[in-house]
């Protein structure tokens, strides 16, 4: 069951934005939980040695944060597909926001299409993607 019905969702509806925690401690916890132990995710200095401006958030963590955005909006919904394009790194210890909006509805399958983005403090899109959600 989902708390949102297909009928009540409108094209163009914004999902409530979420400011996500990508602090070094939180990202490090994620890395240990997933076994992604590369220094560029958990250590600013090691990231700089690889030519990055500072440590970066793992791509699958960014995707997970977007999944979380969808589930906050529609608890219990089924995410049939999520597809992300990584335009630029999401920096650890920054203050990015996860955003989403409804961009299509399919009455036959009762699915909605979402645009999903992660934007930084300057409003620049770092990650963009789409999801197909069953309500």
């Amino acid at each position: 069951m989902t708390s949102r019905s297909y009928q009540e969702v409108e094209f163009g509806e914004d999902l409530p934005e979420v400011e996500v925690d990508v602090s070094l401690s939180n990202v490090t916890r994620f890395c240990h939980a997933t076994g992604m132990l590369a220094g560029r995710f958990m250590n600013h200095e090691e990231a700089r040695e690889e030519g990055l401006p500072q440590a970066i958030v793992p791509g699958i963590m960014s995707q997970g944060l977007l999944v979380s955005l969808v589930h906050r909006w529609a608890p219990g919904c089924g995410i049939r597909k999520i597809d992300t394009v990584f335009r630029a790194p999401v920096l650890v210890d920054s203050a990015p926001r996860c955003c989403g909006v409804v961009t299509d509805k399919d009455d036959d399958s009762r699915t909605v299409e979402l645009d999903l983005t992660i934007v930084n403090e300057q409003g620049e899109t770092r990650v963009l993607g789409t999801a197909t959600v069953v309500l």
Binding site: F11, G12, R87, V101, T103, L128
Partner: protein
């Protein structure tokens, strides 16, 4: 007349937007644009026919391409069979000089896009290897730009005397209409657009 000159649909490998949804989005959000151009990566979509969608939505939908050269990516307007035969749109190592020459010869207009972007933009290449003759217009406002990329592009245009256009570089529905080009004259076809780009009388515009 305001047209968004740079957008990608699901025809592009990294595009995620259906053209119908672009139109729906523009109307739903009341965006102040009269139409847009689909500039698919490394190809020209000759098959798709959007006349019915134009009639239903009142939006002008034109088609161009975005090709890849040794000086970065370039928008091409006025694609025709002669142009498609003149060079391989699918290559990633085209010569900018050749693209400019052939597009012009075939009656089109070539516009280096996001020139301020590292690697895929023209500015860094100009700094390293010098300017290429034949550039008259560059994209000074790109909706996907980060940091100072648009400022770098505008500075180059001012220094070199290039005219500037704007485009969203949308790959998802909600990114269309972030940047566009305001024309003094009315445009109803790709021929009109090519003529307007050559003639001047336009400016790049942006909305937050």
């Amino acid at each position: 007349m305001i047209l968004d000159l740079h957008n990608h649909s699901i025809k592009s490998d990294d595009g995620r937007a259906k053209v119908e949804n672009y139109c729906q989005w523009i109307r739903k959000r009341g965006l102040p644009i009269d139409g847009f151009v689909l500039t698919e990566h490394r190809q020209f979509d000759a098959e798709s026919d959007y006349r019915g969608l134009e009639d239903r939505t009142g939006l002008l939908i034109l088609k161009g391409s975005e090709v890849e050269t040794d000086y970065g990516h370039v928008l091409v307007f006025g694609v025709n069979s002669d142009m498609l035969a003149a060079f391989d749109f699918g290559r990633v190592d085209l010569s900018l000089e050749r693209v400019l020459r052939e597009v012009s010869r075939c009656g089109g207009v070539a516009v280096p896009c996001h020139p301020g972007r590292p690697r895929v933009g023209m500015c860094a290449h100009v700094e390293q290897r010098g300017a290429v003759e034949g550039v008259e217009i560059v994209e000074t406002l790109n909706g996907g730009s980060r940091g100072r990329e648009n400022q770098v592009a505008a500075s180059l245009a001012e220094r070199m005397g290039y005219r500037g256009v704007g485009g969203s570089d949308a790959h998802i529905v909600s990114h269309i209409g972030r940047c566009a080009t305001r024309f003094e004259r009315e445009i109803a076809s790709i021929e009109d657009l090519v003529g307007a780009l050559r003639a001047g009388g336009y400016e790049a515009v942006q909305w937050e």
